[in-house]
Symmetry: C2
Subunit: 423 residues, 2 copies
Amino acid sequence: MRIEIICTGDEVLTGKIVNTNFSYMAPKLEDVGLSVHWGTTVGDDRDSLLAAFQLAATRADAVIVNGGLGPTIDDLSQEIAAQAAGVALVLHEEWLERMEEFFSRRARTMPPNNRKQAMLPATAEMIDNPIGTACGFALDIGRARFFFTPGVPRELRRMLEEQVIPRILARSGAPASIHLKRFHSYGLGESHVDQLLTGVEALDPTGGVKLGFRAHYPQLETKLTVRGTDMDDVHRKLAPISAAVRQRLGNFIVAEDDQTLEGVTLAALLGVHGTLSVVETFTAGQIAARLAHLPKAEAVFRRGVVVRDFGELRHAFTLPTGCLAGEMTQAATEAVAQAARAQTGATHALVVLVELDEGADRIDLGGTIWIGIATADRTEFRRSRILGGREWVRLGAVELGLDCLRRFLSGLPVVERIDFEKT
Amino acid sequence: MRIEIICTGDEVLTGKIVNTNFSYMAPKLEDVGLSVHWGTTVGDDRDSLLAAFQLAATRADAVIVNGGLGPTIDDLSQEIAAQAAGVALVLHEEWLERMEEFFSRRARTMPPNNRKQAMLPATAEMIDNPIGTACGFALDIGRARFFFTPGVPRELRRMLEEQVIPRILARSGAPASIHLKRFHSYGLGESHVDQLLTGVEALDPTGGVKLGFRAHYPQLETKLTVRGTDMDDVHRKLAPISAAVRQRLGNFIVAEDDQTLEGVTLAALLGVHGTLSVVETFTAGQIAARLAHLPKAEAVFRRGVVVRDFGELRHAFTLPTGCLAGEMTQAATEAVAQAARAQTGATHALVVLVELDEGADRIDLGGTIWIGIATADRTEFRRSRILGGREWVRLGAVELGLDCLRRFLSGLPVVERIDFEKT
C-alpha cells in the first residue's frame, strides 16, 4: 500500500504556518501499520496542484490531499481534482443542505460564496465533516484513490481518524483490528530502552506487534502497534508484551496512553485528598505551570513560590537559623520542604532548587538540582546534576522534580539513577 | 527564480520528528525575497531520492536538499546526487583533513565510517560546514543548481544563511542588499494591522519594500523585506516606512527584531534598578516562567506566588480585613498588588488574577482577568475578559499581564482596548 500526502496552501509552502498537519497524519498512519512513501507541498496555484495530483496518481495507491476546500477563490482543490480526473464539477445538494443547516443553527444566513464548498467532482464520494463547512471527498485519479481533507487541524483530525484511515485500511486488506498501545517513560534514553526491550516483539509469535519510539526530551514514548483479526485477538497478542514492557521499564514508566506525568501526579494527590505546595527557582514557575491549571487542580494546588535567589526563601518562609546562609546542603533543602508544607498548610511540598553554573549559555553548561519532598511525617531528598545548556537543564529539572513527586506518591524509590544525570 | 526544497529522511517522512527545517527554510528565503515553489519529503530510499532529484531537476532553477549527509549507511544524498548528475563519487581530500582535525581537536580518533562524509560527486563545489562533519555541496543536475545541506538544525541554519542564500541570490540577479525589519505587536489582530498599514509599502516609490505578517497568538509579527543596491540604500528606503509603522501601530508594538516582550520588560526594570514580584492564579506560573529564567533576571526577579484559590492569597500576604472575602473587586486587586510589593520588598509588583468560567472546556469558555501593578507611590488597574477555551484564556492572560507591565514601565497607558477582549 503506497501512500502519499499532498499538503496545499501558500501559508504552508512559505512557512508562514508550520505544517503540523503532515506531522500529525504521518504518525497516525504509522500507528495503524500504514506508511507514507512521499510528501509533497505546493501552494494555491492551479499548475502546481494539477502537476502534484497527476504525479501522485501515477505513483501511489492512496493519496491524502490536505487543504484548499474553503469558500475563497484561492481554494482550488475541488476544481483541480475534477480536472485531473477528467470529470465535471457538480453541485452536491446534500452538502448544500448540510451547510444551510450549519449556518441556520448558528442563527446566520449562509454567505453566497460558501456555495462553492458544495461543488464536488461528479465521481466523488462525499466524506462527512461533522464540525465544519469544508466537505471531504474521495475519488479515483489515475491508479490512486484520492482523499481530500480540510486544512483546519481539528476538522482534519476528526475526518482522518473516523473516515479516511478506515477507508484506506479496508483497501489495504490489513487485518480488521489495529490498536496502538503507548508507554511514557522518563529517565532512560532511547537506545537504552531499545536495548532493554530487545526481543519483546517476538513474544507474539505471529509477528502482529511492532515496536517503535518517539523521543521528546526529557520523555520517551514507547509504542506498540498491534494488528489482529478482532479486538479480542489484539488484546490477546498485546497482553504478554505489555506485561514485559512494564516489567522491563519498571519504575521509569510515568504514564500510559493518554495519561501524562502531571495528570498521574495530580490523580495520586486527589486519591489521598492531598494538597500541594511547590517551591522552585530557575525552573521559574514551569513546575507549577504543568500542574496548577489542570481541571481539578483547584482542589489540590495550594501555593507555588518562585525565587531566583535562594536567600529570598528566608523571607518567603520562616526557616531554621543559618539555613541557606552558606553552601547548599541536603539539610537546607529538607528544611525548606518542611517549612513550605507546614507554613502553607499543604499535605505535601515539592522543592526544586537549581544551582546553575556560572557563565554564558553553552552546550555543556550544567546545573545542580536539589529536590526535597515533605509530608507531615516523611521527608525525601534527591540531588542530581544535568549538563546541556540553560534550557536543557531547566526542562530536565522540571521533569525530575515532577517524577520524584510521582515516585513518592506511588511508593517507589525517589532516588534511582537516570541516564540524563552526571553524578 | 523557481526554488524547490527536498527534505529527506525516514524520521521526517514518518512524522517521528516534526519537519522544522522546512518551516525554517521557507520563511528565511521569503525574507530575502525568494519563494519556494514546491516542497518534497522522501525517506532514506534510493529509488525515491533519485526520482525526487530527477523531478526537481526538470522543474526548478535551484533546489535545496536537506539531510542524508551523515556517516551511516542510510545516509544516501551524496551517492544519489552523483548518480542523478551522472558523475562519479570521489574522495574530497580537503574535507577529509578537516574532519580529521575536527576529531583531533576533541581528542578523538575519526571513526572509519566518517570517511564516507568526504565522498562527494566529482563535479561538486564544496560548501563549508564550520560546526559539523557533514560536508555541504552544490552541483548541477539537469537545469537546476542543487544545494545539499545537513539535517542537524543548527548546522543547516548556519549553512543556509552564510552559504546557500548568498549563492542563490547571486544566481537570481537580485539587488545585492536585502534586509528584514520586524515589529512584534500585541493586542491587534492581523486583519486590523493589515488595514492600519494600508499603503505603507508605497512610501518607497521604487517598490523595494514588501510587507508581510506572521501571526502566533497572542502576538503578531509585521515584517518589512527591503531590497536595495547596498545597505545605505536599504536603510534610506526603510526609514520612512519604519517610522510610519511605529506611528500607526504605536503603543501596540511591544518589541522589534530579535527583542521579546519579556526581554523588553526585564530591560526596563534593569534600567530603573527595579525588582519585581509576580502574583498569578490560573496562568499558574507561566508569567514567572517567561521572565525569571532569563540572564540577568536573577538581579530583578524577587518572588513569584502562584495560587488557584483567590482566598489562599490571604495566607500568602497580610491583606486588609475583608479583602478577597466576597465578590472580586478593583480594590481587592490593588490591595494584593500593594501587599505583594511591600511584603516581598520589591520595587514593582504585577498581579494577574483570572476568574475562569464554570464548566467543561469549550471553544467559547471565558475568563475575567483582574490585573494590578503597584510601586511605592503608584497603583494601576485593568480588567479584561477573554473568550476562547481554557488554554486560549491562559495564553491571553499571560500576554496581557506582561504587556500591562511593559506599558507601565514605558509610561504608556495601561488601559487601552485590544482586539482580543470582550468588554
